[in-house]
């Protein structure tokens, strides 16, 4: 049995089935990420002054990932246009680059997470937070020793370092700071349980990364085994590519907001 409007557009909506489906799905995705952004705003404006971290995350990998997604969006739409115009080789090249970009994104994100897991912070009773690299051989049951980051992400952390002496603020100098365990109310590496910010950060970027992986799997299928349809039913294949592209651009759209919200502002 032939399913109606699988390839041709339905006269009343002007859309074929998959396109109608993907737009409805994307509308629901707006609400999914909208809920998370809303939670982020609520937690951020409710945080006590001076405590919410500002630019605590490494900017380099995030910027690289932004560029990777912009490039992949361009190649995705070029791949779709090439397939539509009957340029199979160009379609293969552009869509292949999109898949490679998706892999690069996941690789860079993993590297970034690895970096986060290797950075530590202590929170003192007065809510001062000092972040830095852990000196493992000088950390024991009685004390925690850090080489503090030159740029602290909270106002209280910056003030604390100033009090410790001018030398601590100079970048490049590895001044160690030892904290007595009894003065420390929280100590861990940057994992979701470290702070509210990191809970939100890992939830949002983790969910986004899952979307990237899902999109990459579909695009890889259309680039590889699924591309056989190009020779048997090109219009249907181009429609599939368009739907995958719409999802991929939505993934970029979400990142466009995640990047400034989590890394810059």
């Amino acid at each position: 049995m032939q399913i109606p409007y699988e390839v041709e557009a339905r006269p009343d909506t002007g859309l074929y089935n998959a396109k109608l489906g993907i737009w409805l799905f994307l509308a629901s995705e707006v609400m999914l990420f909208g809920g998370l952004f809303s939670a982020y705003i609520f937690l951020r404006i409710g945080a006590e002054p001076g405590l919410w971290p500002h630019q605590i995350l490494e900017l380099g990998p995030a910027f690289a990932n932004t560029m990777v997604l912009i490039i992949s969006s361009v190649t995705m739409v070029m791949g779709w246009a090439s397939a539509k115009l009957g340029e199979y080789k160009k379609f293969k090249i552009f869509t292949g680059i999109t898949v490679l970009c998706a892999l690069a994104f996941v690789g860079i994100k993993s590297y970034e997470y690895h970096g986060d897991f290797n950075r530590y912070g202590v929170i003192l009773a007065d809510k001062t937070q000092v972040t830095g690299e852990l000196v493992k051989d000088k950390t024991n049951d009685r004390q925690i020793t850090l080489i503090p980051d030159a740029k602290q992400s909270t106002e209280l952390g910056r003030e604390y370092l100033k009090k410790q002496g001018e030398g601590a603020e100079k970048s490049g100098e590895e001044q160690e700071l030892a904290f007595d365990r009894k003065d420390v109310v929280w100590f861990s590496n940057f994992v979701p349980s470290y702070s509210t910010f990191f809970s939100v950060y890992f939830t949002m970027t983790g969910l986004h990364a899952l979307h990237v992986i899902g999109g990459a799997v579909v695009i890889f299928y259309l680039w590889g085994p699924g591309s056989r349809m190009y020779f048997t039913d090109r219009k249907h294949f181009v429609n599939r590519l368009e739907v995958a592209g719409l999802f991929w651009h939505f993934v970029e759209l979400v990142w466009i907001f995640l990047f400034p919200v989590l890394y810059l502002l």
Binding site: I70, V74, T154, E155, P260
Partner: protein, 107 residues
């Protein structure tokens, strides 16, 4: 639109896609540049999110072809955007209930 016209339009859009890619790159660099300049945090938020909205509009209008899309799609996304705004507004209302106990956007 006939099939030939549709293909011609796709052909014409190829260069535009590249230009949009360049525009997005420039905008993200501006966004980073501004974020690294120390000034008023509220202004940072307005400019940073403003640039993000411009970038998102470019992606939706040109890469997702929302510009020439059917009314049904426009209304679907307008409905989603409407409920998104409601969601954010409710969050802000909850905050303003406790407006005396917290200071907005102080770091």
């Amino acid at each position: 639109m006939s099939e030939d016209q549709d293909l011609q339009q796709t052909r014409n859009e190829v260069k535009m896609h590249l230009r949009i890619g360049v525009a997005l790159t420039v905008l993200i660099l501006i966004s980073i540049g501004i974020a690294l300049i120390p000034f008023n945090t509220a202004l940072h938020l307005v400019i940073g999110l403003g640039i993000a909205v411009v970038m998102a509009t470019l992606v939706m209008a040109f890469f997702m072809h929302l510009k020439g899309e059917k009314k049904f799609v426009h209304w679907t996304m307008i409905t989603a955007a409407f409920f998104f705004v409601i969601l954010i507004a409710l969050t802000l209302l909850a905050y303003f209930d406790y407006a005396g106990s917290a200071t907005i956007f102080k770091f």
